[in-house]
């Protein structure tokens, strides 16, 4: 049997409602955060996938062929090479033409992505 007064009951209900509202807000905020993290992850994977056609899915190139594996390559090294292709400092048959289509930020993003692959 509930021995609380009407006022007490109302306070308790109001507290529950406030708590629910707070949790809802917190939930939505974390959902939004999770969504933006997931969106970013999907975009990075899709951007890196533009390299996969020649360098293998997630940078794991077919072994024993002339095109190199990017998976697990240190990000700094990959980025340095990509930028050297882009300036023409490192000679290439094709990579100087490809890298000129990507911004510095995009090259950093793919370099980081492949470094994180095994």
């Amino acid at each position: 049997m509930d021995t609380r007064t009407g006022a007490e009951r109302r306070t308790s209900c109001a507290t529950a409602r406030s708590l629910a509202a707070l949790l809802l807000l917190a939930g939505l905020a974390s959902a939004a955060q999770a969504q933006s993290g997931e969106t970013q992850r999907l975009r990075s994977r899709a951007l890196a996938a533009t390299c996969a056609t020649c360098h293998g899915t997630d940078g794991r190139a077919v072994e024993g062929e002339a095109l190199i594996r990017l998976a697990g390559m240190p990000a700094d090294y990959t980025l340095t090479q990509l930028l050297a292709f882009r300036t023409g400092q490192r000679p290439a048959t094709i990579m100087h033409q490809i890298t000129k289509g990507y911004s510095q930020e995009q090259l950093e993003e793919v370099a980081k992505y492949f470094a994180a692959q095994k």
Binding site: T39, L42, R45, T50, G56, G101
Partner: protein, 429 residues
Amino acid sequence: MLDRRQVLERLFLGGATGGMLASLSGCASTGSASRAQVVVVGGGFGGATVSKYIRLLSDHSIDVMMIEPNAQFVSCPMSNLVIGGQRQIADITNPYTGLSSKHGVRIVQDRVSSVDPAKRTVALAGGGTVAYDKLVISPGIDMMWDSVQGLQEANAAGQILHAWKAGADTLALRRQLESMRDGGTYAIVIPEAPYRCPPGPYERASVVAAYFKRAKPKSKVLILDGNPDVTSKGPLFKKAWSELYPGMVEYRAQHKAVAVDARTNTVKFDVQDDVRADVLNVLPSMRAGELAVQTGLANANARWCHVNFLNFESTVQKNIHVIGDAIQVAAGMPKSGHMANSHAKVTAAAIVAELKGLEINPHPMLTNVCMSFVDDAHVIHVASVHEYVPTQKTFRTIGGSGGVSDVRSDLEGRYAQAWARNIWADALM
């Protein structure tokens, strides 16, 4: 944008907070909502790649069924080397089994007879229907037989081939060249652009010339082009023909074929004189694969399919995406296997985003590389990078990027071999 159900699902996945919210709000659990099903029609460079990448990019949370009539993937890129005798058909053939065993794609070996966009189902030629949330059609090209009178019959009889879909015809054309006398003429007839694989006909002429130089040196290669000039890598091809095959390869522009005479193995043109050849290889005009046309998706001149370039959704039907050679291309976008692979990845990411309630990438990118052999070992390339431009709602090649080879080289020959092995693996393994 997230809808309410998706917000709730997300909160449930997030743990205790969601559970409490659900009990307070009195909402029933939606945690067991059925999984989204994507159906992919066609297992070429576009279809196989989009199947694999929807599985990968969704962390295997979206079911994918791929419907393809062929038991194995026979690659059009590198198939000219089978025609030239530099490779065997086994070298360009790969199984589909990796898609099912490694990536969980359900493969149905059948043909789709029709699509019902209102009910969101496809009917299989072998019987039964399959429901989809999203349908991706990657139907490749079909031939416009009426563009060259008499060709369909001559092709069906096995006499005048196109061999523009790799497989049995690739081998049949090879046999025709093998049985041709030394001193004979091989003629390839090219339709007006756009057609599948812009540099393909010129590569084929080159590797056939390499075969003749080795085995039948008195023979000729005649290129009869419906276009005003070589449509891809022109200066590089012409340099290769004059330096590697002097007096053997002849290029004639402005030769638009209108008919063939199978009795005399002759091709007729709208303006130019008839040409007779010992081996006649005629490519008619091409359009989107039959299924796309019959579904009413070919809304560009009743030939190619207009798509929304952000997600490759048909501009005719919601929830039906078209990729690969069948689409009405953006400027500078070739109909190639590499480009179909690029379409597939943008489409896979967009479908995964949409089905998960995430915002679709407003700035997708595409790349293309076409590598052509000019003899047994030397290759020339054309490359491009494309970005989506929101204000124009289409892809544009990025200024300063892309280009062609400086010179033909055996280094690029090794890269071409590696490219093929990698793009096959990227689609299938």
